[in-house]
């Protein structure tokens, strides 16, 4: 279908090769296993495929069909038209990894600008060219920290208020490392915003303390004392950050974080049922050479012209093989480009506007919901950004089903991951939730109470 060969082409090529038929080129494949049947449906024309895929997509009802308050690690944001338009240039999306700098300056400069924007946003010195997603970036931060102390420190402290999927991925990545202890996210340590129980566990065996900002519950917590306590014991601190929130909030780099990672999906990347997304990863200069993944650096060419290249590749698997800092080979190339275009297009003004809309709409929603009898905000005294916890007298699965019946995706049932938060719902509000939608939500919630 996508092969251009005419019958005459094939004949001429076979003659050049010196074999009679194409099958002859496969004689090395064991005969009894050669050319097996594939049990696949009949092939479709492009037109049929377009229709078939459309009908599969139409079997979903999405954030376009529902009023959605789902967040918990993936957020609906408006993506300006120019982002996808530029992304669809074949020069970008059909290019390979920029190993040949002379014919890859477009990709390289875009990554350099991405690194710059992420450094500025997080307040860090160096950003890499990205990891697969926020969770794998967090896992790479753990690996970095463990290797930084060459095995002399064995304890990783994770806040329980880090996205549960991130903590699962970290444990998944470290499953074969018996020397490491991943602790701190147990129910006894808890999720109190004063962090006292977590800080108490920081000791000389601790290589890394990881927290989330805003945390999984949307709370904005002051990590200054935690960072101070960690540094006093010589431990590193990693902050998992939401990039939209950083438009308004003090960047983690300014409060002393050594590593900042996070999910870049809010930066112009569609929800797309969970991926592909974008893990960003930034460090202070002291950790520069420990960073895993691709890095683009500035240099000059033989004419003295400014040029960009992939650099410090000696850390990477294709050079260092089993001694590499990670096995990662790709970065999220096209997703870093989307984020770079998005951040540039919104710029200083637009990006702060989006963050402010999220903040204002979320606070309007939270205030309205807590006015309804039967609903309260259990973390009311802690500031939050665009996500918050609602405690309902109702049974949460039934409440969510009721909201779904009214075309609302009400949020994320926290009891799945936090038994102590039985009856609690995590709701996210962005610039995409209009005042009308929010008022409709509160109307429906009020009816539940009266029903």
């Amino acid at each position: 279908m996508f092969t251009p060969h005419t019958h005459a082409d094939v004949e001429a090529m076979l003659k050049t090769i010196g074999v009679e038929k194409v099958e002859d080129l496969f004689k090395v494949v064991p005969e009894q296993n050669r050319f097996p049947d594939l049990n696949l449906p009949q092939p479709l024309s492009e037109m049929q495929a377009a229709t078939e895929l459309d009908s599969i997509a139409s079997a979903n009802a999405t954030t376009r069909d529902f009023i959605s308050f789902l967040g918990a690690g993936a957020y609906q944001h408006y993506i300006p038209a120019a982002v996808d338009n530029l992304l669809q240039r074949g020069e970008f999306y059909t290019a390979y990894t920029p190993y040949q700098p002379e014919i890859s300056q477009g990709t390289l400069q875009a990554i350099f600008e991405f690194q710059s924007l992420i450094s500025l946003l997080t307040g860090m010195d160096v950003s890499n060219a990205s990891h697969y997603d926020g969770a794998t970036a967090a896992a790479e931060a753990v690996i970095l920290a463990f290797n930084h102390f060459r095995g002399k420190r064995d304890k990783i402290l994770l806040s329980r208020a880090i996205n549960p999927q991130y903590r699962d991925v970290i444990r998944g990545y470290m499953q074969a490392n018996d020397a490491i202890r991943i602790v701190g996210d147990d129910p006894e340590t808890g999720i109190e915003p004063d962090l006292k129980n977590l800080i108490d566990q920081i000791d000389l065996d601790t290589c890394l303390v990881m927290v989330q900002y805003p945390d999984f519950f949307g709370r904005i917590i002051d990590y200054a004392s935690l960072i101070e306590a960690a540094h006093a014991q010589g431990a590193l601190v990693a902050v998992v950050a939401n990039p939209t929130a950083l438009a308004l909030l003090t960047p983690p780099g300014e409060i002393g974080a050594d590593i900042v990672v996070g999910e870049g999906q809010p930066l112009g990347i569609p929800l797309s049922y969970g991926g592909p997304y974008l893990g960003f990863f930034a460090v202070k200069n002291a950790l520069l050479r420990k960073i895993s993944g691709r890095l683009v650096g500035e240099t000059v060419d033989t004419q003295g012209e400014l040029a960009y290249v992939l650099t410090l590749t000696a850390r990477e698997q294709h050079i260092r093989r089993e001694k590499a800092s990670s096995n990662i080979c790709s970065n999220q190339g096209l997703m870093t480009l989307a984020a770079t275009i998005y951040m540039t297009l919104l710029g200083k003004t637009g990006f702060q506007q989006v963050a402010n809309l999220c903040y204002q709409n979320a606070h309007y929603t939270a205030n309205a919901v807590q006015e309804i009898p039967g609903y309260k905000l259990p973390f009311k005294s802690t500031p939050f950004f665009h996500e918050f916890v609602v405690q309902a007298d109702e049974n949460v699965p039934e409440l969510l089903a009721h909201l779904q019946h009214h075309h609302i995706l009400g949020g994320y049932d926290l009891s799945q991951d936090y038994p102590e938060l039985e009856g609690c719902l995590l709701m996210a509000v962005t610039e995409m939730n209009s005042r009308e939608d929010i008022d409709y939500l509160t109307d429906v919630l009020s009816e539940v109470e009266h029903a």
Partner: protein
């Protein structure tokens, strides 16, 4: 001409895309957390569009020309894939939506799991891995957990042929295995004698790329699998080169226990300038319970009146979660579209034409360049980019000179077992005319190497920048438009 950076293009007060003001009563942002300054660029929308359009024009790409990059399978990325992946039913779905609202997505994933398993001859598949390297990680985790669950704790070594991708040893090291290098024999196959000597009860498995990175189908495939299995090890198939075997050979039917595909190679999803990839992993029957979380299952087969329903389930002995949500879903839609359009016949045609193209180019070039393993190749082949009579010319010079002829260079200096390697993979989507033009350029360059060597040494001549000073980049370590501290002053 150099394109300024977004920071150089910025003018205070200029705006790009802006948003409406809030229409709800305002809440105060707590001052103790408020950011002092966001030093982002300020550029008009047109300015941004021109900037990135100009950057795009400094790239080479499949849409512009031939990309014979060995081991990367730079085939045409069908435009329809980009359309289907953007259907709102897919693109606007939140990953945590209730299962009953996303039956279309779950059907697509379930079906793709089955198709990928069928194409490779396996029992089941996971779509979770974000890239080939993460697929390797998942496969290695499965191997580790399989042995551990059986109480077989001595198995600490993984054999890796010397022609393997660097990700193989890196992935096994990440799981705490001891990677042991396995030599190739003089025909480019796994050396069976060395293999037999390295197999004992400390063997966890082998990572076996077939066709290997020399582009050769290993003539000892069945023997390799048998020897490793007899020693109690598992066979990991690195499916990076599956483009040669679609509809030709099912690795799972021949004893490969676990294998990943690269959807961005074999199944036409775009490379995107370095990602996103997607690396589904297939397993044989005895490893099905180890697949990562989440896995899509049919929850109700339905009947005449109601369609089947699908949902997520965590396999019984699962290695757990390796990334957030459910893998690179957008890439899955593209691969699904591609397989749906090709079917059995189309997939076999892909492999046949990929192998035909590679053998054709090999035949045309082997008189001019040294072909260290002179056999019928699969989807790619490796030449030496070096001649004894012009010792100053290296593979790198040939690669750079090809840019002046408007071709992307082949992969160079890999695999490591070939001196001055030039690894050429034409893929099935290239026409004979393109292959002829490329072969002509390669022959011309071989002439130039003798007659005008400086043309090669100074190449490329016509590109947006010339050879870059990589040492300076590694010394200066400039990774950001402004060093931190300086931007604060702006």
């Amino acid at each position: 001409m150099r394109e300024p950076t977004i920071f150089e293009l910025s003018s205070p007060g200029r705006t790009g895309v802006t948003f409406q003001e809030p229409d709800v009563p305002l809440s105060e942002i707590p001052q103790e957390f408020a950011r002092a300054n966001l030093p982002f660029p300020e550029i008009s929308e047109l300015g941004v569009v021109r900037h990135f359009t100009k950057l795009s024009q400094k790239n080479y790409a499949i849409d512009l020309g031939f990309y014979p990059l060995g081991s990367c399978t730079m085939k045409y990325n069908p435009k329809i894939n980009e359309v289907t992946a953007r259907y709102p039913g897919f693109a606007a779905a939140h990953p945590l939506q209730p299962e009953d609202t996303v039956q279309g997505n779950l059907y697509l994933m379930y079906t793709l799991q089955n198709w990928l398993a069928e194409i490779g001859g396996f029992a089941d598949a996971t779509l979770a891995p974000a890239a080939g390297a993460q697929g390797e990680l998942v496969g290695t985790m499965i191997i580790a957990k399989y042995h551990k669950d059986r109480g077989d704790l001595k198995r600490t070594r993984i054999l890796i042929p010397d022609s393997a991708h660097g990700t193989n040893p890196a992935s096994s090291a990440m799981l705490g295995f001891d990677p042991v290098q396995l030599p190739s024999d003089e025909r480019g196959n796994v050396d069976l004698k060395a293999l037999a000597e390295l197999c004992d009860d400390t063997l966890a498995g082998i990572m076996f790329t077939n066709p290997n990175t020399l582009g050769l189908f290993d003539e000892n495939t069945a023997e390799v699998i048998r020897i490793v299995h007899e020693a109690g090890g598992l066979v990991y198939g690195d499916g990076a080169n599956m483009n040669a075997l679609l509809g030709v050979f099912k690795p799972g039917e021949c004893g490969i226990d676990v294998m990943h595909y690269n959807l961005h190679k074999t199944f036409s999803t775009p490379h995107g300038g370095g990602g996103p990839g997607s690396g589904p992993v297939m397993v044989c029957e005895k490893l099905v319970d180890y697949l990562p979380d989440p896995h899509v299952v049919m929850t109700d087969p339905g009947d005449e009146d109601t369609p089947p329903t699908y949902g997520f389930a965590r396999p019984e002995k699962s290695i757990g979660r390796v990334k957030t949500f459910h893998g690179h879903f957008g890439m899955l839609v593209r691969a699904f579209t591609y397989i749906a359009m090709l079917g059995q016949e189309g997939l076999r045609d892909v492999a046949e034409k990929a192998v035909l193209n590679a053998n054709y180019l090999q035949a045309k070039l082997k008189g001019t360049y040294t072909l260290p393993y002179d056999r019928s190749c699969m989807h790619e082949f490796v030449l030496e980019g070096y001649w004894k009579d012009v010792p100053d010319i290296h593979a790198l010079d040939i690669a750079k000179r090809l840019m002046d002829y408007d071709f992307h260079p082949p992969t160079n200096y890999f695999p490591l077992i070939v001196h001055e390697a030039l690894m050429i993979e034409p893929t099935e989507t290239e026409s004979v005319e393109t292959l002829d033009q490329f072969a002509d350029a390669m022959v011309k360059i071989a002439e130039e190497a003798r007659t005008q060597p400086e043309l090669l040494k100074n190449a490329p001549h016509n590109t947006p920048v010339k050879r870059a000073d990589e040492l300076k980049a590694a010394k200066d370590l400039v990774f950001c438009c402004y060093p931190v501290g300086e931007w604060e002053k702006k």
